[in-house]
Amino acid sequence: MVLFALVELAIGFGIAWPPAVKPALIACMVWAPFLWFFAEGLGGLASGSASAFTGAPGASLLYGLLAVLLWPTERGGRSEATRFVGTRRAQAVWVVLWGLLAGLAFLPANTARNAFSDAISGNGTGVPVWYGSLLDHASAWTAGRGGELAVVFGLALALVAVSVLLPWRRAVRAGMVLALLLAALIWVFGEGFGMPFMGMGTDPDTAPLLAVLALAFWPSRRPIAEPAVAPEAGIVEGAAA
């Protein structure tokens, strides 16, 4: 476990230190799938009960995704996430990710009467009093309403998924704000802040990463000018789209 922590600290600090950004991002791309497969069990996607509310599709997958999308480049783009892979590919990643999360919300296990209530109450062990009280209230309110909440949750996730395709910058921003709001709700009520108070937390879970992803897709006020001559034709095709 200590070795895992040291590897992750090295990757994190490598990304923070400008001269080591690229090697650290490559290390992240190698490390993330390893963790996703062996430590996170594919983020629960194969379990039949995976839900964005409880940590699907797995934090490691999102770390790897962010490492690719935020690869340092001089290229321009409509947002940080589109600069390296190009607008269309970045949009495709966003739609697939949030579309997947929306789809998971409608799985039978996630539309059960107490699906949300059980998930929320499961975060209550060892937490501070104020947070335990908040979870108790939320758990009581959601009890028996799993079906309705799953529909609302799934539709909200679907809205976020398609928002990035809209031609109006304000609409895209509204989608990102909704994504940030959902990430906050997921983190507080579904993921228990990554369960740091239960003695079994190993990471902040997926919600902060979903928020970072939303910020990375936040459309800039004016698109940064594309270079006149692109160095790599294969990537430029997407970037210019």
Binding site: M1, G12, W17, P18, P128, F197, M200
Partner: protein
């Protein structure tokens, strides 16, 4: 977290070495006619000693109350200095950082951050309350504040590291050329110039490294009592 004893011992030794290095800087800077930031070095000396005692029993020095008073006084000192030199961004950042470090240490000494009494590793185990084999050390007061401090410390470490420029062959001559402008920002990103030397900073990057190490060890000490 039930951290392995060897890791706590290693970090304690690291903190003591860091404190010794900071003391050496304080003593040697004037003799070598180099500038150093005496405030930061003094803070690192005290924080290193205190942090070592917070994670290993054998490194215990002063009583908790005495350390609390020391860092409370340090926090007030840094706060007053920060307000007085608010106009200068470099000094302000350094002084606010020092004050924040003191505030975290005051919290740690008053909230019960201390060497774990548990031994062995729980890596890979679920530590559920009331379950046989449960090994959980959650004796921290105000854990929410502790978590906020731990996250803040992690961000602080990243911020310091992000400001650190890589060392180049031109650093020495460039620094020498800029000598004489006391209070200037060094090439490594460390602000200082409180000393009365030649204006040439004494190993400024090592101060940043010390800062990062202290911040990480403080976060570690909080987390071992929190999660």
């Amino acid at each position: 977290v039930n951290a392995p004893a060897w890791l706590s011992n290693l970090l304690s030794m690291l903190m003591l070495a860091l404190a010794a290095y900071s003391l050496w800087r304080l003593l040697i800077a004037r003799a070598w006619e180099r500038d150093t930031d005496y405030e930061t070095d003094a803070l690192h000396l005290l924080a290193g000693l205190a942090a070592a005692g917070l994670i290993s029993t054998w490194a215990h020095t002063l009583p908790r109350g005495a350390w609390t008073v020391v860092f409370a006084a340090g926090g007030v000192y840094f706060a007053v200095r920060a307000v007085r030199s608010w106009a200068e961004a470099g000094d302000r950042r350094r002084l606010v950082g020092g004050g924040a470090c003191c505030a975290v240490l005051v919290y740690m000494f008053t909230a019960g951050v201390a060497p774990s009494t548990l031994h062995g590793s729980t890596a890979g185990q679920y530590t559920m309350a009331g379950m046989p084999g449960m090994i959980l050390d959650q004796t921290l007061t105000y854990p929410s504040i502790g978590l906020i401090f731990a996250v803040g410390l992690a961000f602080a470490a990243v911020a310091v590291l992000n400001r650190m420029a890589p060392m180049t062959a031109q650093d020495g001559p460039a620094q020498a050329a800029s000598a004489g402008s006391a209070g200037s920002v060094s090439s490594g990103g460390s602000e200082g110039g409180n000393g009365g030397g030649s204006g040439l900073m004494l190993a400024p990057r090592s101060v940043d490294v010390c800062r990062i190490l202290i911040v990480l060890v403080l976060a570690y000490a909080i987390l071992t009592k929190l999660v």
